[in-house]
Structures are given as structure tokens and as C-alpha cells.
Symmetry: C2
Subunit: 409 residues, 2 copies
Amino acid sequence: MHAGMAREVIARCRSLAAHSDEPGFTTRTFLSESMRAVHADLSGWMTQAGMAVRVDASGNLRGTYEGASADARRLFIGSHLDTVPHAGAFDGVLGVVMGVALAESLDGRRLPFSIEVVGFSEEEGVRFGAPFIGSRAFVGDVDDALLARQDADGISIEQAIANFGLDPSRVGDARADANPLGYLEFHIEQGPVLDTLHHPLGIVDRIVGRSYADVIFTGAAGHAGTTPMDGRRDAVAGAAEWIGGVEAHGRRTPGLVATTGQVEVTPGASNVIAGRCRVSLDVRHADDALRTAAVDRLRTMAHEIAARRGLALDLSARFEHPDTAMDGSLTAMLTRAVERTGVPATTISSGAGHDAMIVAAHMPAAMLFIRTPGGVSHHPDESVTEEDVTAALAAGGTFLDEMASAAGG
Amino acid sequence: MHAGMAREVIARCRSLAAHSDEPGFTTRTFLSESMRAVHADLSGWMTQAGMAVRVDASGNLRGTYEGASADARRLFIGSHLDTVPHAGAFDGVLGVVMGVALAESLDGRRLPFSIEVVGFSEEEGVRFGAPFIGSRAFVGDVDDALLARQDADGISIEQAIANFGLDPSRVGDARADANPLGYLEFHIEQGPVLDTLHHPLGIVDRIVGRSYADVIFTGAAGHAGTTPMDGRRDAVAGAAEWIGGVEAHGRRTPGLVATTGQVEVTPGASNVIAGRCRVSLDVRHADDALRTAAVDRLRTMAHEIAARRGLALDLSARFEHPDTAMDGSLTAMLTRAVERTGVPATTISSGAGHDAMIVAAHMPAAMLFIRTPGGVSHHPDESVTEEDVTAALAAGGTFLDEMASAAGG
């Protein structure tokens, strides 16, 4: 691995960040035109690294670096290529770019296994309100209901796939081959833990469970000047009371995070009392039972607030994923690889969902976190340091060597 | 006045409601294409009533029914033609359609004064966040700063006027001629007072003052899964606390109404803690001092909340209008006219702002409210009854007769 590789990895991530649906920001949604530009750049780098490139029917970009034999088993290295609105340059993309860099660093050397780098098409759930479209296709978990799901413009996932020039009827072909060696994901931590410990890397032991719901309060629109305060059924006021309750419940429950990141008001005029207010709810906790109990408590709270205020309430769960452990032996191998690079092998749980969470139910999965300065993520200021990426690349290289030994190479 | 006139007035209002910027709803903003369609229909009815029609450079539709002599003074009858989003059929439009109906009911008879019916182009403030564009032009209160104001698409008021085919450099010509007899506005009450009293009409004595501000909380966007609750600077949570405070302050202050009808969150993704949240504030009270004190209190509250939560705060006043009394002698004349129709002459203060508020500083102004069933307004269910419109037309006709007598006709 040459010395400038970490610098090159960071430069590649920053150059990919310029491909955006929204000028001036990094916002890249499922199979947008900016995603096509990212595929083009990554395909070039993959080809340069000696990889065979394809895009599967779910829009995942896949580059294969062949092993020593034609029937070699396969190690997947992946992460996602889509972003949240106004994102940074590293969330997701870094893991894919590092996978390509590791293949490139082999410089033609053949291992007893193939490496397939996967750039998942969708993880954040921005465009369709359904996350993990790419990794769900990768594990064969895409059904007709998911394909029929529509974005804000009424375009279905199926149609979006066809619009991108892919064949939605072949989504089943996106599935990983049987009997893989496993799945490895590099990802920025997106939180403050490693930065606080002054440790460059963290080995993920588990990904905490997550619940996501839509909560809609419906009252009565009315004139802001002529409707007395006690005659109102104000959807915004009801939603605001509940948002306060969500925050308070999050604060007093150790380990719980509860977020209301979207608020949409109808009709949304300054001189009209709001008739309808939709709020998104995102709840996570390492303990599934505590997470479920928190969602139940917040649902009851919403019903109480709505009933007291004469509002109608619609609370619909949109996504639910249990706490997921990473694979023990793959994680032990990753831990040894980190130790051999000379940096502390810190174990850390992931509060964020990742593609590894979807993949882990179908094959051995391991995950390495890279320190995120200030814990700043989902924001243009998101960053990584060259020394941390160097450490991660070194650990990745050692991991490949370990696995080669274990596979008898 | 023929018997079916009230029915015809209501039918005309309902047919105009079909001209909308948004299919399926009535949403009509400043100088939109749907406004052009409204002008076309009204121009036809004005011409049929024997009126000369023009559109002034601020987009006000103006129809003149000439008086007995060429130098006759002028009585203006007006209201606005724009709407809030998802509006009803009567707010604003009813007053213009009734003015045309009153001119038509004269059936060629000449009064000692001219009648000019004015359909103001803009009152609600939806497109440019600045209300009363039409009536401000009518009183000569449009300056370069207002003309430069931009809508969400970056189009200025000046450009919107030009795009409609009008000449923005001639906005000064929209000003009413000197020495008018006065201004009369018919408008639905948009509140529950007359409906509760079972009275069809209300004579407006004053329009209560109003303050409108934009309040922006800025925190730090962050990952919803990895940022612990006590490490957050969540703009939505701060805004929600303040919205609760606004509502509570409104409830405990007699006569005050305080509304937060717009909430906009950035970036607005379910898995991202909000970095920015804008909330609109609309505060009204019949007592200017109490209104100003309430705004001050809510501003202090916002600063306290922001400081405690580590948020930045930007509170900018966007519109402020003092409590405005209607003209005493014109209102007395209107009261007598109502009494002569045989319905109670109820005096009522207006909690809503109206064009009459802008006009009153420049000429004698009076205003008649028509009962709003259930107080429902700014909503598709907004309605009026045929009997109430009949009473209002009768009062309007008597008012014209009274004024003719006073003017020596």
C-alpha cells in the first residue's frame, strides 16, 4: 500500500461529493443523475484496479477482483453511495472507495478468494421513505410492495429503476452468490465516541435497533385573526407539544435517542391556523424491548395529546429493525488486524443503521468505524483525517492477509 | 334589486373559486394565470352592469359606474381577489362581486357620485410574504423595496407585474383620485361572533392591530442515531418549545390571538437532527400596547429558549399594523342602512386584517361583515347564506341611497 493512498481515498470521496441532485450541496438520492456520475467515476477507478464492473438491477455498483481460482469464494466489501440532503463527503462513499483502494493495493496479487466491492444504491431512505433498497436487493429481500412504493413525484421504485436504464424484473439477480466468505463494511462512526477516546478506529459489535414512524395530527384550519385561542384545534400546537414530550422521554431514558427531523404543515400560511401537521419519529436503543416500550409510550402520549385537543391522530410505523450483532469470528479477525496496525482495538456499538445490519442476517458480517472529528455527520462539515484512513487501510490490508491465511492461501 | 340577485352573487363567487393555481383547491396568488381568468369573468359582469373596466399597474381590477356628472366625486367599493392556499369561495371575492351587483342593480340610474369597484390584486401575503400589495398601490404606498421583494422562485413583484403584461413603472397610477367620497368594503366575518349571535350582518368599528414576524432557530444538524440526547442542538425541539409558549401566552392573555401557521425544517430528513427551523408568528390584539407587549414577551421567550439550548435565534418583524378605526360618519351611515333593512345593527371589531385597514389612513372607510356559518374560513367549507347576502345587498343599496341624499342627489 503506497503512502499517498489515504490522501487519494479522501480526494476521491471529496470529488464524488460534487455529484449532487442539488447545486451547492451534496444531496444524492436513489438512481438520480448524480448517482450515474458517481458510478462513472468509481467504474473508472475499479477498472484501473483490475476489477470487472457491473451495475445490478437494483442500481448497486459492483466491482469484482478475481481470486486465484475460478471457483474461489467471495468476500464482499461494501457500503452505500446515496446521501441524506446536505450531506458530507464520507458517509457511505468512504467504505466503497476504501474497498476499491484495497483491491488496487493488491496490485495484481491473487488471493484464495475473490473480492467484490459493492456500492449500494440506497441506504438513507430519503427518496422513497424506505431505507436499504440496495442491500435488501443484495440479500434477496425486495418484494412487489417495495417496488411499488412511490416518491414525492409519484414515481415508483420499479419505474425509477427502469428510468435509470435497468430492468426491474431482474432485481432478483442482484442477490449475492451462495456460500460467501462474508461481508466487511468500512464506515465513518458519525458520532463522538472515538473522537472523545482519541482512538482512530472502532470495531463494531452490534447495530442498535431502530423504529421509524409517521405521526399525523389533524385539527381544523382556521383564520389566525378571528378564531379565539380556546376555539382552536391547531395541529401545529398539538404536534409541538408531542415533539417536546418525545425529547423529554428521550432525555430521561438512558441509551435512548428519539428524533423528530421532519415537520410538514398544511396549509402552511402565516395567517392560517394549521389543519394538519406530519412529524417523523426515529427511535433507537440497543435493547429492543426498551425501544419498543419507548415507541409505545410515545404513541400513547400522542393519542392523549390529540384527544385532549380534539385532534385526530394517525400514527403509522414505517420501518422497524431489531438490534443486530456482527459475526463473532469475522469480528475477531478484524480486531486482530486492527491490533496489528498498532492502534487500540476499541469495541463500539453503532447507533446508526448500516447496510451491514441488512446483510448480517444472510452472511457473516463485520464492520470497522473510522473516527469522525467532532462527531459531525449528515452535514457538509463531516470529515476524516488522513492518519485515520491510513490506519483503516492498513487494518483492511492485514484483514485480507489474515483471511488469505485462514482460507489456506 | 331583483330577487335572485343574492343567489346570483353566491353562484358567481363559487364559479370564480374554480380559477385556482392548484387543481382541486382554491389557491390564487398575486397575478397568477388563475387571477387572469378571474379578471376575465369579472370584467364581463362589470361591462354587463354598464361599467368601464381597467386593470391598473399593480394588478387591481377596476370597474367604474359613472355618476350623474362628469366631475362627480367617487365612492370606492372594494375587496381582494387573491386567496390563501386551499381557501373557500367568499373571502375577498364576495365584496367585489357584491360591488358589481350593486352597480348592476342601479340599472342605469345615475347617482350624484361615481362608483368604482376595486378588486385588489393581493391582500393575503401568500406569494411574497408581504400582504396588501393591491391596496398599498391604491393608496400610493408602494416603494422600490416592495417592488424588489422576491417570491420563492426568485421572481420580484416588479417582474411579476411585467410578466402579467402590466407596466411596473406606472404603479403610481394605481393611486385613487383625490377627494373621494370614501371606501366601503363588504367581507365575510371569518369568525364565529355573528353566527353565535344569530345576526346576519355586523358593522365593523375597527380592525385590530397585527404583528407578523419570522422566527428562525439554528442549531446543529446531526445523525439521529449517533448523537446522544444531551449532545444535541435540535432546532425543531427548540422551536416546538417556543410554539408551546406562544400558545400558552395567547391562552392566558384575554383578547390576544397568537398563531404559528408555518413551520419549515432544514434539512428535513427523518434520520437527521434538524439544524434549522423557521416558524411564522402572527399576533393580534385590539389594544396596540398589549399586542406590542405580547410580541416583546414572545421574543424574550424565544431568546431564553435559544440561549438555554445553545441555538442561534433570528427574529425579524415582517409586518406591523396598528389598530385602525373605521370612519365615524360613514360607519354611522352604514349603521342606519342596516337598521332600515330590518336586521340588528351589531357592531363588531375585526380580528382579521382587511384592505379597509390600509385604505382608512387615506380616506373615510367603512366595512360591513356578513355572517360566516360556523365561523369557518380560510378553508374549502367556508360559506354564506342566501338570506344574509340578500340583507347585505339591501343594506348596500340603502347606503347608496343615503349617500345620494347626503350628496344632494
